[in-house]
């Protein structure tokens, strides 16, 4: 496997790890936002229920207190006359009915407010989600972009390094081949020379007769004299 293939494989693995990491971060953030909103919603619901329950309880308390007070007044004013008492009772009943209606109205307004709050919370939740999504998307996009750039640079660097090494190897291999060739040719030349020399010597040695040998010795002496070998 070449250096380039290894580099690309390494970059792909790193890209996959980066994508998994950002996906995990995004999901974690998303789930956390949803949980928080749910908790807020439940808390608001709980608070609303408590307020409503408290308001009803207080409303009924007031009505009962008013009824009780009215009964006492009625009892005290029985002396005034049965007709007046009846009239007051009727009015008190009307007052109680009116109070109950007011409480219902208040409860309805509260429910409306609660619904509005829930809707706002929902919108806020969606907005947060969208914002988080955009942020995460942007982050991931930037990270991937940056990573792609780094990976590209790395690949380019690996490529350049590989090219350089291949070139160096090529030059070195050529030099070694040339050296080997030169040595081989020298060896061949030497062998040829040795063989030729040996053959020549053998042939000449066998073809020379005694007279030739004597002539060669005298010739050697003549050559030595010419060279001045015998001069002191």
């Amino acid at each position: 496997m070449s250096f380039t293939a290894l580099g690309v494989l390494g970059v792909n693995v790193l890209l996959l790890i980066a994508f998994a990491y950002f996906s995990f971060t995004f999901l974690k953030k998303l789930l956390r936002s949803r949980d928080e909103v749910e908790i807020e919603k439940k808390e608001a619901e709980k608070v609303g229920q408590e307020i409503l329950s408290k308001a009803r309880s207080e409303g009924y308390g007031l009505v009962q207190q008013a009824t009780k007070k009215a009964s006492e007044i009625i009892t005290q004013t029985e002396v005034i006359g049965k007709g007046v008492g009846q009239e007051i009772k009727t009015k008190l009943d009307a007052f109680a009915t009116q109070g109950m209606q007011g409480l219902d109205h208040t409860a309805q307004e509260f429910m409306h407010s609660y619904g509005q709050m829930a809707e706002d919370a929902q919108k806020s939740y969606v907005k947060i989600l969208e914002s988080a999504n955009e942020q995460v998307t942007s982050d991931v996009r930037n990270a991937i972009s940056e990573f792609q750039k780094t990976a590209k640079d790395e690949i380019s660097r690996y490529q350049s390094l590989t090219d350089q090494r291949v070139e160096e190897w090529h030059i070195k291999a050529q030099q070694e081949i040339e050296t080997y060739k030169k040595a081989a040719f020298e060896k061949i030349d030497k062998s040829i020379y040795q063989v030729l020399s040996l053959v020549a010597k053998e042939l000449i040695g066998k073809t020379l007769n005694l007279e030739d040998h004597q002539k060669l010795v005298v010739q050697a002496l003549e050559d030595a004299k010419k060279e001045g070998f015998f001069k002191p």
């Binding site: 040829i192 020379y193 030729l196 020379l208 040998h213 004299k225 070998f229």
Partner: protein, 158 residues
């Protein structure tokens, strides 16, 4: 080699090789030894089968003079030797021819010493006065191949 004893010029004139010189020195040594002995020495026996058989008379005269023997011995020992390493066994004719050439061109007091060297193929290795030089066919072939190797190889590769 001017002989110090004119009477024995003929002996010196016939002296060609170191082996002959050594043989003559051996004879002189025998003669010197006999000069100290009481009984007569048998010179014929000493010089029998040597190149000096024909000089029996001269050697007999010399045997009684130990001073002359000493002088002759010193003169012989002082002769120059030219060693020739050659590949063949020289005939008497070759010995005479080569010796004459040496006496004529190198010096009359120079004797030749033939040594056999099978590796030479032809020609000779000459050793004289501490110097050595090969004028052998082997060298000629080597020189030829060294000088002409490129041309020879080129011809072979063509």
């Amino acid at each position: 080699m001017p002989p110090t004893i004119p009477k024995f010029n003929s002996i010196f004139a016939g002296l060609r090789t170191k082996d002959e010189r050594d043989e003559l020195l051996r004879i002189i040594a025998e003669l010197k030894k006999s000069s100290f002995q009481s009984h007569a020495i048998d010179i014929e026996k000493i010089i029998k089968d040597t190149p000096f058989e024909k000089f029996a008379t001269e050697l007999k005269e010399l045997s009684s003079d130990s001073a002359k023997l000493m002088s002759l011995s010193e003169t012989l020992s002082a002769l120059s030797i030219l060693e020739l390493d050659i590949v063949f066994q020289p005939t008497q004719e070759a010995v005479i021819k080569i010796s004459e050439w040496i006496k004529k061109n190198v010096g009359t007091n120079v004797l030749v010493d033939f040594q056999h060297d099978q590796e030479l193929i032809g020609g000779a290795r000459i050793i004289f006065q501490g110097r050595s030089r090969e004028f052998a066919l082997l060298d000629a072939i080597d020189t030829l191949f060294k000088e002409k190797s490129e041309k020879v190889l080129k011809e072979l590769k063509a």
